[in-house]
């Protein structure tokens, strides 16, 4: 009888040797005449345990990790195919506390199924929502999403139902559904994990959105920094078409939905929805002024539903289980769950899907186990490069959109980057300005020019030149960026800068040091 073994095909797992581990398992099984079925799944998101190998036994799946290629012979010797004892044996994955404590809705299948198998997808509940949606009235679908309380998971947290209703009510010869898969925030990888670990759920969510608003064309704008996800998603689209999830006769009905993938080209600003539309149209990724809102005048001027990967990938769960069930999770006006991502200097980095309301301290210590270096965690940046840096005094704030904003933070896309006490916050503030200078689209002056001036002002502070005057100037510049920028790029760049300045003022008063030599001229390039 054949034994089934899972080795993740997630790019983070591959980055620490999962391909070599998979090859070693196949090779040794062949040498020993063992009939072994190797499945490349997504990652469970327990990255410090990657490559995380699972074997299907009579007692269910048993996990081993981290399994490097050199460990594989000893695993065979220990009888791991029957769940045998070994120093890397972790037991049933679901019993690992990190996973057991989670509330996985959007990620319910990731790491469990073969990402490219429709049969596996459907055996784990996939496809039911699309079949239900094909029988439903569009307005009822919109109502269901509205009642669930689902808000945009890309960071802006706009209520998805309102967006859908606007597009449904718009009259046009063509409407679009666009998925923003330009996950550029440092510290985030949940979109990538869905794309690589359960791509059909995103496809299903997009088709349901199309049925709800009357759109028959969809685009996924995928960042070029995710070449592995592109390969998996491309294959998933083919399989979805063959299985009737896409195309001209959805599930044998007379409804249709066509989906296209477009590759980004390394511009962070194209994660901003209007810049992304420009890029999809084949132009420079320059931000558009709003109004008109994309829901009324989006891609090629047509009504367009734009959502992040996570928002769309959550739609099937809501349609399948009901909006009331989804809304049971969460806190305040933040309903449901958010897949948080623990990153940076953290001992157990990974994907933690929890209902809104969990605190930073629980995530950093109960899940993350403190810093990777063993030193105290001094600062945490939440919500990507435009998110504030928070000191330990804010670690007990619940992570829901409103409560976190009241504490001066931004939940954003749920990325959490930890820094230990060796961090120099003046340099992190400088980097925030530098990043804005590199990635600004150049449309508005505060962002385009203010960011470069910001780097220069912070350099003078670091060098110890007229600190009081330059710090006043920096605050003034941040005020201009906040209030006069066209989009969140310039508007929120002051958040990391000012939070560094307000929470860690001592770092701006260190003994004068040379500014990071020449870095700006080496990396900032004009568009």
């Amino acid at each position: 009888m054949s034994v089934t073994v899972y080795v993740p095909n997630d790019s983070a797992a591959i980055g620490v040797g999962a391909n070599a581990t998979a090859q070693a398992i196949s090779r040794i099984a062949a040498e020993r005449g063992i009939d072994l079925r190797l499945i490349r799944n997504g990652s469970r998101g327990l990255f410090w345990l990657e490559p995380f190998v699972e074997v299907v036994t009579d007692e269910g799946r048993i996990g081993y990790g981290p399994v490097e290629a050199q460990d594989v012979p000893s695993l065979f010797d220990a009888g791991f195919l029957k769940g045998g004892a070994h120093r890397l044996r972790l037991g049933p994955p679901e019993s690992i506390p990190y996973l057991a404590r989670q509330e996985r809705l959007t990620f319910s299948r990731v790491g469990i199924i073969d990402p490219l198998s429709i049969a596996d997808y459907e055996a784990h509940g996939g496809g039911r929502s699309l079949r239900a949606a094909l029988r439903a009235q569009p307005a009822d679908l919109v109502e269901e999403i509205t009642k669930s309380g689902l808000r945009g998971r890309g960071g802006a947290a706009f209520p998805a139902g309102i967006k859908w209703k606007t597009v449904l009510q718009a009259r046009a010869d063509q409407k679009f559904v666009v998925c923003n898969a330009d996950e550029g925030d440092s510290g985030t990888f949940s979109d990538r994990m869905i794309l690589e670990g359960d791509p059909f759920v995103l496809i299903e969510g997009m088709v349901i959105a199309g049925l709800a608003v009357g759109a028959t064309e969809g685009y996924i704008y995928l960042r070029s920094e995710y070449p592995h996800a592109l390969g998996i998603l491309t294959a998933a689209l083919r399989n979805a078409e063959a299985a009737g999830y896409l195309g001209t006769n959805l599930m044998g009905s007379d409804r249709r939905f066509h989906l296209h993938i477009r590759r980004g080209a390394g511009a962070y600003i194209c994660g901003e929805e209007t810049a992304m539309l420009e890029s999809l149209e084949g132009k420079r990724g320059m931000v558009r002024p709003k109004p008109p809102i994309p829901a009324l005048s989006g891609l090629w001027g047509r009504p367009t539903v734009i959502h992040n990967v996570m928002t769309l990938a959550t739609v099937p769960w809501i349609v399948d289980h009901g909006s009331a069930k989804y809304a049971e999770f969460g806190a305040g006006r933040s309903r449901g769950t958010l897949p948080f991502q623990l990153a940076g200097n953290i001992r157990r980095g990974g994907l933690v899907e929890m209902a809104f309301g969990v605190t930073l301290r629980e995530l950093l210590y109960d899940f993350g186990g403190g810093s990777a270096s063993g030193r105290p965690i001094r600062a945490v940046q939440v919500g990507g490069p435009l998110g504030a840096y928070l000191p330990e005094s804010r670690f007990d704030t619940p992570l829901d959109y409103e409560a976190f904003a009241a504490a001066g933070g931004m939940v954003g896309h749920g990325g959490i980057v930890a820094f230990d006490d060796t961090v120099d916050m003046a340099r992190m503030a400088r980097y925030a300005m530098e990043f804005c200078a590199i990635e600004s689209c150049g449309k508005c002056t505060p962002c385009r020019i203010g960011s470069t001036r910001g780097v220069e002002v912070i350099d003078r502070v670091i060098e110890g030149r007229q600190r009081t005057e330059n710090l006043a100037l920096l605050r003034d510049l941040c005020d201009t960026l906040s209030n006069a920028s066209l989009c969140a790029m310039g508007g929120l760049t002051p958040a990391p800068v000012l939070s560094a300045l307000n929470h860690f003022p001592e770092d701006f008063q260190r003994p004068p040091a040379p500014a990071p030599a020449g870095r700006a001229s080496r990396t900032i390039r004009r568009h």
């Binding site: 591959i14 990888f189 070029s224 920094e225 390394g266 890029s279 999809l280 990777a372 992190m428 990635e439």
Partner: protein, 174 residues
Amino acid sequence: MEPRPPASTSQATPGTRETLATIDAVIETHRSLPGALLPMLHGIQDRLGHIPGGAVPRIAEALNLSQAEVHGVLSFYHDFRNEPPGRHSLRLCRAEACQAMGCDALETHLHQRHGLSFHGTSTDGSVTLEPVYCLGNCALAPSVLIDGEVRGRVTAEKLDRWIGELKADRGGNP
């Protein structure tokens, strides 16, 4: 290492016949796509490793755009390059999560040990170093992307080994 010069369309290097044939084939494949310009540029760079200046007027004509518009798009995006890269691509992530795990020290190491600076190619033409802002591998930082494959928990010693392998490998990018 000089920063790369701005893309020039006026000094379009007359490509070889094969280069132009490749460009024309890519243009032909993509010209009817809505929003065809980015797929076209990617298609050309995937095959040739860069976008030769000679491609710009051909793309402009196929899409009924001005050469300035094509150049504007080409120069906006960090990915596109108008000169051939080294045989292998090394991209070092310098976003916050990787900074928290010491990517700045790796950048310094690449410069001091291997003479590699951002946007520059090693003198033997084997490796081009580019910065990248997040590879989605932030739980296993610091990260690099080598010829399209992510590697995590990178150390200076691992970089030395991988660069040695890249330099020894005569194959690689077009």
